[in-house]
Every structure is written in structure tokens, then in C-alpha cells.
Amino acid sequence: MAVYINGKGNISPQKTWGDEPLLLSPLDYVGNKLTCVQPDYTEFVDVRQLRRMSRIIKMGVAAGTMALRKAGISVPDGIITGTGYGCLEDTGTFLTKMVESYESALNPTPFIQSTHNTIGSQIALLMQCQGYNQTYTQRAFSFENVLLDSILELKDNPAQSILAGGVDEITDVSHTIQERFGIYRQDSLSSLALFKSNKKGTLQGEGAAYFVLSGEKTSHCKVSLVSVATFYKPGNNLRSDIESFLKSCSLECGDDDLVLIGKSGDFSPDHEAELISSSLFPNSSRALFKHLCGEHPSASAFAFWLGARIIEEQQIPAIVLERDANRPLKNCLIYNPYFSNYHSFILLRAC
């Protein structure tokens, strides 16, 4: 059964919404932190409600609204959200206040908004959506779990429209802590040049991308989601896992026209990803995306948007291209490795 992508909304470190041509003028960042280009939120949410929302909730609500507007839907049948980190800003605020005020006279608002399901439930509240509402938080499988759940929901009832997304934010506190783990580059002068040097470390990113998925196609829909698979700690089975995943989609490895690979810029895991990609997909076009959105648990939601846009345009922007096989763009495989234990695959197809 096909799952159609009837609407998209993507807020990312690039300008990824509106009617602009795909990645017309990519933004370059100095340093190891890529934060989102934010839209005018008053176009999406009432000013009084905006004041109470943290940045991640604003981004989620706005991206969700963009997707619904594109699909021409006011209330979806279900809302499924993935977020690896959850609402970090509110969590950090409440923790800090708790320590500083010795557990007294605390404002409950940041606590209320600290749970991961706040994003999906705020969308439900604003749109009065009383249907299915779910939030996944399995690091870099969070958005993949969302897609899997959406496929199951739509297999049971194809007429539904599901709002499915992945959302993660950077905060000063989370960046400071994660930097101490030594996972980010210290001397990056150009994010767009991330893959031009063999160095250790990646760049931190964030983003909010929602999609309207349905078993029924709208007239302007050009891309469908075929399948998704996640493999935790696959070890030596990774190759056979990829092959059996593609087989389950009635494909062979060589059939992928384009593979979007989630290399992070960190040379050691990237080398592993390179070995797999060049041996399994030798004849496919290959493209990279984390120099545009940064590394974060929901980066695959950015790739999902990018893959769908590339199929729509039938053209791979030069800024993402790694290897051009000059093939018509029908099948696009997203392969996202994340800190070595997480490997996910999403297959998109022109329709």
C-alpha cells in the first residue's frame, strides 16, 4: 500500500518553506551550532498563545500548520510526533530554577511544557484534534517510528490524513553539555565545507518538519513513502539487513536512483557509511544533507523533506550532490547512521 505525502512543512537551519526554488541560496554557518531560520510565527499562531510557547513548540506548531495548509486540511485524523531530546528549554529552565530557589515558589509552566508530548498535544489543542495522538522518543529512530506508526494506521484505514513529524531543538545548556562530550568540531569556519576535510566531530543542528500522510492521494502529490526500517546495533548484519529491507520493497540494491546518506562529517563513522554506500549502491546517485541541517535526532525528517523535494523537482541540487549517476529520480533511499549504533532506512518513490 502506498502512503502519499500530501503536504510538507519544514523549519530548519536553511530556508526550507515558502515557494522558493529548492535550496536556492544555502546558508553557511561559522561554528558548530546550526539553529533554525524561523518564520514569522504570527502567521501560524495567535500572539497571546505564542507568548506562552517555548521555541520548540512554536517551531512544531508552525511546521505542522504549514504541512496541513499545503494538504488543504484543517484538522488531521491523528498527530504523530518524534523527538529525541524533547522540550529541552523548558526542562532546563525548571531544573535551573529548582536548584537556584531551593525547590520553592516554582512556576509550573516550564514543568508542564517539559514533557515530550507537549508539541503534539499543543497542535491537537490548537486544532481541536481529538483523534490518535502519539509521541516517540527513541533518539535517531524517533521520526522513523513516527513513519512506521503512520504506515500501520493508514494500512488499517487509508482514508485518514495523519500529521507526522520530527522535532528537535538546541538550547544553550544542551549545547554546552554535549560539547563537553567532544562530539562537535571546535574550529569550523564553514558548515557548507563540512565534508571537505577529514576531521573528527560533527556540527549540532535542529529542526521541525511535519508531513501530511494519507492512503489517498491529492492531485498535487508527487511522492509516496514506500517503507521504513530501523536497526539498533546491527553489527555485522547491517549489509544483509539493508538487502532484506530493499527486497521487502521489491527492490534490489542497484535499483535505488538516489541514496541520501546521513554522513555527519565525523571521519570515522563516515568512513563506515562510505564503505557501505559505495559497495551496496555503486550505480546510484549519492547526496549528503547534514552540512545543511546539522546532526540531531530528527535529522532524518529533514532528509525526508529533501528527498521528496528532489523527486518533485527531478533534480539534485549541487550543494548536496556527492556522486551523480544521471538517473531519472524515481526511488530515493534515505540511509541515516547515527553515532554508530543507529541505522535507519526510508524509501521514497515518485508517484
Binding site: I112, G120, D156
Partner: protein, 400 residues
């Protein structure tokens, strides 16, 4: 939607304030015991003011029992404890099947993050990193999966206090669609200063022992623990000749879409969750023999849930109780813990007490079960779990 085959329950494991295993829990229920008491596990200015339901084992004791590494978070330790019991009870060799782990948690590794923050807050270069490395909710699931030897499919759900029911339902759907053969599903949450202060700032913690569904109720007591089920497909049951206890016959997930923390007065989200779960199971309200209520003990929840129950079940409502009077509210773990209780009700043909009940809520008049009672026919049990953000879930378990 309907299920293609049965989703059988092959094993259950639980740890909470009233026991470290299914057997200990049953003993506590039989004797109408409460697990609510003073805070002993961490330091807090609310230590003597707010009663809680602690698991009666320190981290050190849990580590020794489990042979676990140091510095694991309490949520992970509780999760491993209950998940191991569930797998052992099922008697299944997981490695022979496509096995997944779906766990739920709302605090993840917050207990250690709090310790980190004490130092970090004064100087961002301070705080031991090994205390935050396990912070993410998904990390808890990784630790449990690694302990059980589950590779391949793992997932974590956080829909606040309804999380675990959604984890079991997602597992049932993956089996139903033929994507997995076995799922270990449930949830774990430890007591933390973060949640204690959070709920306290909302002024919904009772300073005395909580009284769910009582007219005098004035808030909840926080608890902690973990509860997991091993659910399996028809094929695993047949080919593995597995003894099962019951099966998942219905579930539903809805949203109240009324307020970020409060439930609608008429309980529209909870009503439709119960109604849809019943519809999926093909059962009538009169077929339900026992409801394990969400029943937190707050003014808002119990009135809203009670109104929805009264509307759906009418005057001849089944036996019902909130076991949170015994365990405290274990947040993301509650749906898993209470799913285990539901399975225990089916296996032992019994119902559990709603402690400290004296007078019904005047607007609804529901009278819950007040004593442990065995020797009654229990074929179908409904378990409710509702959370912040309007997330409402209901699940029905049936006897084989």
C-alpha cells in the same frame, strides 16, 4: 480496526512500592497493604511534607540484585528488573524470534541529571558527564534492550502518564501486521526531585496519603516502578507451545484537546478512548468485569474519569478500583504496571482494593472496590491511563 490473530500475553513483570515481583505484589494486595510513605531515596525540602510510593530498594541494592553496572539510572534499573521478570515468566527463548522492545518513560535518566545539575549550575565546566550520558528517554530503552539481548527493533514512547498503554498497543499492532513475533512492552519511571517539584508547583500533590475516587480526595502521591508484558503472536504460541495468561482484545488512543494539564469536565477524551477500545474488542460495557481506573486522586481527574465511566457503564457498572492508592502515581510506568495488575486479575480471578475510600464523589456516586476479593469471574479487564497534553488511552485484556 480488528486484529488478524490474537495478541497473547505470555509473561508479566512488575516492581513498585507494593512489591518487587508479581508474587510480592499479589501478597500486598491480598493484605490490602499500601506502599505509600516518606521520601528516603533522595534529599528534598519536601521530604517530610509529601508522601510518596517508593520502591523499597536503593540503587545500590538494585545494582547488586541485577549484577548491573554502576551509574545506571534508577529508571533503567527498575526497567531491567521488571522486564527480566516478564521474560523469565514467559519461558521463551527470545533469540529464536523477531523480538522488539517498546518501553515508555517520562523522566528517563532525570534522577542522575539532577545530580549533575547541582554542580553544573554553578560552573558549566563542572558535573560528571557520566551522570548525564543516560539522560535521554530512549537511552533507558537501549539499556534494557542491551540487558535482555534485544537487537534490531527498539522504541520509546512518551505521552506523559498514558505512555505505557501506548507502548503495549504499538507492540500489538506491530505483531498484528506481521512485523514482529514478540514484543516486550511496558514502561519504567523513577521518582525524581524534578517530578516531585513539578507536580508540587501545580498544587496537585496530597500532603496526606491519597484517596482516589473519594469525596475528600485532594491530590495524588507520586510513585515509581516498572511494569512489562511479553506479548506474542499466534505462531509463537503454537510453535513454541507457550502457556499464555490472556490476550489483548482492544485498545484506543484519543486526545481530550481541552487543556494542557486539565481534563474536560465530561471526560470526552477518556470516554471515547474507553468506547473505542470496547468497539475494537467487540465487547459490550456489561462484558467488562473489572476496571483498573486511572484514578490519580486529583479533584479534576477522578471527577472527569468518573463522569465518563458513569456515562459509558450506567448504573450497573463493573467492579472498579484505582490501585494508585497502593502504589502512588508512577507516571509513564503506570500503564505498564496496571497492565500487569490487569493480567494478575485475570490469572487469579480477583480484584484489587481502592484503599482509603470512605465517601463517593457526590456528582457521580461511584463506589469502588474497597477490599481485595478473590474467587470471582474475571473474563475481561479494562485499564485506563490518561496524561498531560490530553493524551487518553484505554486497553482491554481478556481471559484465554
Amino acid at each position: 480496526m480488528t486484529l488478524a490473530g490474537r495478541i497473547h500475553v505470555a509473561g508479566a513483570g512488575v516492581i513498585s512500592a507494593i512489591g518487587n515481583s508479581v508474587e510480592e505484589t499479589l501478597h500486598s494486595f491480598r493484605n490490602n497493604l499500601s506502599g505509600i510513605g516518606s521520601i528516603t531515596l533522595f534529599d528534598s525540602v519536601h521530604k517530610d511534607a509529601l508522601p510518596v510510593g517508593e520502591v523499597k530498594l536503593s540503587n545500590k541494592e538494585l545494582e547488586v540484585r541485577l549484577g548491573a553496572k554502576q551509574d545506571l539510572t534508577r529508571t533503567a534499573l527498575l526497567g531491567i528488573h521488571a522486564a527480566r521478570e516478564a521474560v523469565k515468566a514467559s519461558g521463551i527463548d527470545l533469540s529464536k524470534w523477531r523480538t522488539g522492545l517498546i518501553s515508555a518513560t517520562t523522566v528517563g535518566g532525570m534522577d542522575k541529571t539532577e545530580e549533575f545539575f547541582d554542580d553544573f549550575n554553578s560552573d558549566p565546566k563542572k558535573g560528571r558527564l557520566r551522570k548525564v550520558v543516560n539522560h535521554e528517554c530512549g537511552r533507558t530503552t537501549e539499556v534494557i534492550a542491551d540487558d535482555l539481548g534485544v537487537r534490531g527493533f527498539i522504541s520509546t514512547i512518551n505521552t506523559a502518564c498514558s505512555s505505557s498503554v501506548n507502548a503495549i498497543a504499538f507492540g500489538a499492532r506491530l505483531i498484528n501486521h506481521g512485523l514482529l513475533d514478540i514484543v516486550i512492552a511496558g514502561g519504567a519511571d523513577a521518582l525524581t526531585k524534578f517530578t516531585l517539584n513539578g507536580f508540587n508547583s501545580l498544587m496537585i500533590l496530597d500532603q496526606k496519603e491519597c484517596r482516589p475516587f473519594d469525596a475528600s480526595r485532594s491530590g495524588l502521591n507520586l510513585g515509581e516502578g516498572a511494569g512489562f508484558l511479553v506479548i506474542i503472536s499466534d505462531r509463537v504460541k503454537k510453535e513454541g507451545n507457550v502457556q499464555t495468561i490472556g490476550y489483548v482484545s482492544g485498545y484506543a488512543n484519543t486526545n481530550d484537546a481541552f487543556h494542557q494539564t486539565a481534563s474536560s469536565p465530561e471526560g470526552r477524551g477518556s470516554f471515547s478512548a474507553m468506547q473505542k477500545a470496547l468497539a475494537m474488542s467487540g465487547l459490550n460495557p456489561s462484558d467488562i468485569d473489572y476496571i483498573n481506573l486511572h484514578g490519580t486522586g486529583t479533584l479534576n481527574n477522578d471527577l472527569s474519569e468518573g463522569t465518563a465511566v458513569a456515562r459509558l457503564f450506567g448504573e450497573r457498572y463493573p467492579r472498579l478500583s484505582s490501585t494508585k492508592a497502593s502504589t502512588g502515581h508512577t507516571l509513564g510506568a503506570s500503564g505498564g504496571i496496571e497492565a500487569v495488575f490487569s493480567i494478575m486479575a485475570i490469572r487469579h480471578q480477583c480484584v484489587f482494593p481502592n484503599l482509603r475510600f470512605e465517601k463517593p464523589i457526590p456528582e457521580i456516586g461511584l463506589i469502588p472496590q474497597q477490599q481485595f476479593e478473590a474467587g470471582i469471574k474475571i473474563s475481561h479487564v479494562m485499564s485506563n491511563s490518561f496524561g498531560f497534553g490530553g493524551n487518553c488511552s484505554s486497553m482491554i485484556f481478556s481471559k484465554d
